[in-house]
């Protein structure tokens, strides 16, 4: 048997004692992410690069400790929660932007660099990095790769996997290897594509080569103001099926609007039932006609008003409300639980009605703010954890909402990941054979059960200690996987 003392000595020998945390008061910062579940690791280590990461991985494998990689801890599916304790490998010391190459339009970054820093570094060359999660001021590129993160502007431009050319990873068995590189479409299996979105279960990303895009020549941002979510949903369908693909179409409902306006003063109409934020970019000759068509679609569906941002400052303000909306919900209640279902766009209206029915049946309040163009819903249940029994009701409602999405032909997650939160729901979508087939990739990368355990796929023994998750499962009823 290995003692914790031996583990700490080994970690300190690799990364230096100053880069290993082990006191209880230090560790509690690393027991959770953006979700509800918590688990205390035995130690947190901060390696400075691939060599140290590989050494830590090999040490933990040899001593039999679980490993959980961690970026900024903003994840929304429990991906960075150390489900079987063990060691958290935090990427915070690997945060340099190593290179921005304006000719090849690529950047090479370390995994701990925050998403926004990359775009800031690219901006001086007239370039930007496309995936823009709402947490982009904090979340890291490494975390984005692990979760295949999206964001409002993914409607036209795609998610993380569409913008990453290559990654250097330390595999779950401690090998350092490049997957992909600086060019597109190399022959051979697309291991890069297989690794992105694997939620930290195949290894730790230690370098990322991303594509950068030219900053759009011009942008038009519209704010369509509606009496109801239904009117706004109909507009989304009309815009998409008219042949337009905007850069973004975001929806906010009344609850969200009021909280965002109260907290951020972004100029939203507080009395509206819903708004759509619709954006087009490109050359003025093309986007002006697109904006005209989208405006007409809004009015046709019953919009009371359509505003056009007059300048960059107004555009910035409209987006500030959208990106800060979830945080602003704190004005309504101290806790929130954000879901991430996807449904076919044609089912938006029906599914939104289903969500309303579920939350009112549980006596809860929901705020909706989401990527309407993709059919990617983010119902956000606001509540007060201190009221006994509330959390259980919230999780139960969440599970039912996920089921409604799946039943409508949708999926469990569009961009937040399956993690620890929804792995038990996977059998709603995939057969046992499908899941076993997916699981084989773990062994390919050398994960034999101790690398970010209990995530993504339905978990085995040793993962059932998180009571909250079980409550959700009970609520999900007889269809739930057991």
């Amino acid at each position: 048997m290995t003692t914790r003392r031996e583990l700490l000595a080994g970690l300190s020998a690799i990364a230096g004692a100053a880069n290993v945390l082990w006191r209880h008061e230090d560790l509690i910062v690393y027991e959770f992410d953006g979700t509800i579940e918590k688990k205390l690791p035995y130690a947190v280590v901060f390696p400075d690069g691939a060599e140290q990461v590989a050494a830590v991985v090999r040490l933990c494998n040899a001593l039999g400790f679980a490993i959980t990689p961690r970026g900024a801890g903003t994840g929304l599916s429990g991906g960075a929660v150390p489900a079987q304790r063990g060691v958290v490998i935090a990427t915070a010391r690997m945060r340099r932007i190593l290179e921005v190459d304006p000719v090849d339009r690529v950047a090479v970054v370390e995994p701990g660099a925050p998403n926004i820093q990359l775009t800031e570094a690219a901006a001086e060359h007239g370039l930007f990095y496309a995936p823009d999660p709402s947490s982009q001021k904090a979340c890291t590129i490494g975390g984005n790769v692990a979760e295949n993160a999206g964001g409002p502007h993914c409607l036209a431009l795609g998610v993380t996997t569409n913008h990453v050319l290559g990654i250097e990873v330390v595999t779950a068995d401690g090998e350092i290897v490049w997957l992909g590189g600086r060019t597109m479409d190399a022959p051979g299996y697309d291991l890069r594509g297989g690794f992105i979105g694997s939620e930290g279960t195949l290894g730790v990303v230690t370098k990322v080569v991303v594509r950068l895009l030219p900053v759009p020549e011009s942008v038009v941002t519209l704010l369509g103001i509606f009496n109801s979510v239904e009117e706004a949903s109909v507009t989304v369908g009309a815009i998409i099926s008219s042949g337009l693909i905007p850069a973004a179409i975001e929806m906010m409902d009344r609850v969200t609007l009021q909280a965002a306006e109260a907290g951020l003063q972004c100029g939203y109409p507080a009395d509206a039932g819903a708004v759509l934020l619709v954006e087009f970019d490109g050359i003025p000759e093309v986007i002006e006609s697109q904006a005209t068509a989208a405006r007409a679609a809004c009015f046709e569906a019953g919009a009371s008003e359509v505003r056009v941002a007059r300048d960059a400052a107004e555009r910035e303000r409209l987006w500030k409300g959208r990106k800060g909306a979830i945080g602003a919900l704190g004005r309504i209640a101290p806790n929130y639980y954000i879901l991430d279902g996807v449904v076919p766009r044609s089912r938006l209206v029906t599914v939104m009605a289903g969500v309303d029915e579920i939350v009112s049946r549980y006596g809860l309040q929901v705020a909706n703010v989401f990527h309407a163009g993709d059919g990617n819903l983010h119902p956000c249940v606001v509540f007060d954890e201190r009221v006994p029994g509330t959390l259980e009701r919230v999780l139960a409602a969440g599970a039912e909402i996920m089921k409604v999405c799946v039943d409508a032909g949708g999926s469990l997650t569009g961009e937040h990941g399956v993690g620890y939160e929804k792995n038990k729901f996977m059998p709603w979508l995939y057969s046992e054979v499908d899941l076993e087939n997916m699981g084989r990739i773990r062994a390919v990368f050398g994960n034999h059960g101790r690398f970010n355990p209990c995530k993504l796929l339905p978990a085995g023994s040793g993962c059932g200690e998180m009571a909250h998750n079980d409550a959700a499962m009970r609520a999900a009823g007889p269809d739930a996987y057991v």
Binding site: R182, Y189, V342, P344
Partner: protein, 365 residues
């Protein structure tokens, strides 16, 4: 399908979709049986216009799919070589893109979900039917471009796009360098051409060939000078060159944009009958007809040199068409990357006995 695989016994199964890329890769190692996967996997396309998705049985050709989508004003802007007769399963398995690759993505980028027949006879799926989805491991990206070595694709769910009115245009350019420069300026000016290739046929001046929305034409002409309508057939040439019947020898190469000019120039020195440069994906394809093809020794030497020059940035040079006599001496894929050990493990995880396309893929997988 299962029966066909079982009937092959110990022979390596070589799945055939539209039979447009049978020459791709190495010859199978050992005895093999061609399997008519395309014919076995026909069926109805479920096109959801409002959702911009379609569920397509793998044996449906892109030509058939295009007609179904066009009836509702949509299309799949994926234009691999010989698209009309290529099956969607085959296109995903080979992973070859076309002129619209820089703007809309490689074949894998269109895939929302996929079902695959594994070598042991199990049907397995990944992904789903919605346009944004991170539920589960993204096995679709491993299956795309794997040449059927991990499983035979049986059904593909794709994202489709509204058809936007656009015009095909061209203008002559003085040199490849000028063409590259123009494509760069058009891109930086944010004029979103649906494709922009440079096409050079032996004995003719190179031309810039592109497609753009009508409203963008004045902005384009401000950069390029007067453009004329593209002669019909020239687009197909950009798409198909290298894979036509009289292309006896062809290669494709990918490098970084900054090295593309040097790579293309090296290729010009080999006097291909057709050269297509796709600047925005760092891509070049060269094709030779019987009259222009170098011999195996010359071609092999040139490949080695080109592969050496692109290796530093992780580029690649693949020989897609070779006369039978070249195959003994020349490796089609080039040296495998540093991650080849993982590739081999992946193959072992999904097809341990090497039942599918044994020996045809990179590194002899």
């Amino acid at each position: 399908m299962r029966d066909l695989v079982a009937a092959a016994g110990d022979l390596t199964v070589v799945p055939v979709g539209g039979a447009t890329q049978l020459e791709l890769g190495n010859a199978p190692s050992g005895p093999f049986a061609l399997m008519a996967a395309g014919a076995a996997l026909r069926g109805e396309v479920q096109h959801e216009r409002e959702d911009l998705t379609a569920v397509v049985p793998a044996g449906v050709t892109l030509g058939e799919l295009a007609a179904i989508l066009a009836a509702k004003g949509q299309h799949l802007p994926l234009d691999p070589p010989l698209a009309e007769t290529s099956t969607i399963g085959g296109v995903m398995a080979t992973g070859l893109g076309g002129p619209m690759r820089p703007r809309f993505g490689a074949p894998r980028d269109f895939v929302l979900g996929m079902t695959v027949l594994r070598a042991d006879g199990e049907l397995v799926k990944a992904g789903g039917r919605v346009v944004k989805n991170v539920t589960g491991y993204d096995l679709m990206r491993l299956w795309c471009g794997s040449l059927g070595t991990l499983g035979i694709i049986t059904e593909v769910t794709v994202r489709v796009y509204p058809m936007a009115p656009a015009v095909d245009l061209e203008c002559p350019v003085a040199s490849l360098a000028e063409g590259l420069e123009l494509v760069e300026r058009i891109y930086r000016a944010d004029v979103r051409a649906e494709f922009s290739d440079i096409l050079a046929e032996s004995g003719e001046a190179p031309a810039l060939v592109l497609r753009a929305p009508e409203r963008a034409v004045p902005a384009l002409e401000a950069l390029t000078g007067p453009l004329r309508r593209l002669t019909p057939g020239r687009y197909a040439l950009c798409r198909d060159a290298g894979y036509r019947l009289d292309d006896v020898l062809a290669l494709r190469a990918v490098t970084t944009p900054s090295r593309l000019r040097a790579l293309a120039t090296d290729l010009v020195a080999l006097k291909p009958s057709t050269l297509v440069v796709r600047p925005l994906s760092g891509f070049v394809r060269a094709a030779w007809d019987v009259g222009s093809a170098p011999n195996a020794r010359q071609f092999g030497g040139a490949l080695d040199q080109l592969r050496g020059a692109t290796a530093a940035v992780g580029g690649s040079v693949v020989a897609d068409r070779m006369p039978a006599g070249f195959r003994g001496e020349i490796e089609a894929w080039g040296p495998p990357p540093g991650s080849f050990g993982l590739m081999r493990k992946l193959k072992e995880a999904y097809d341990p006995a090497g039942r599918f396309n044994r020996g045809r893929y990179i590194g002899g997988i």
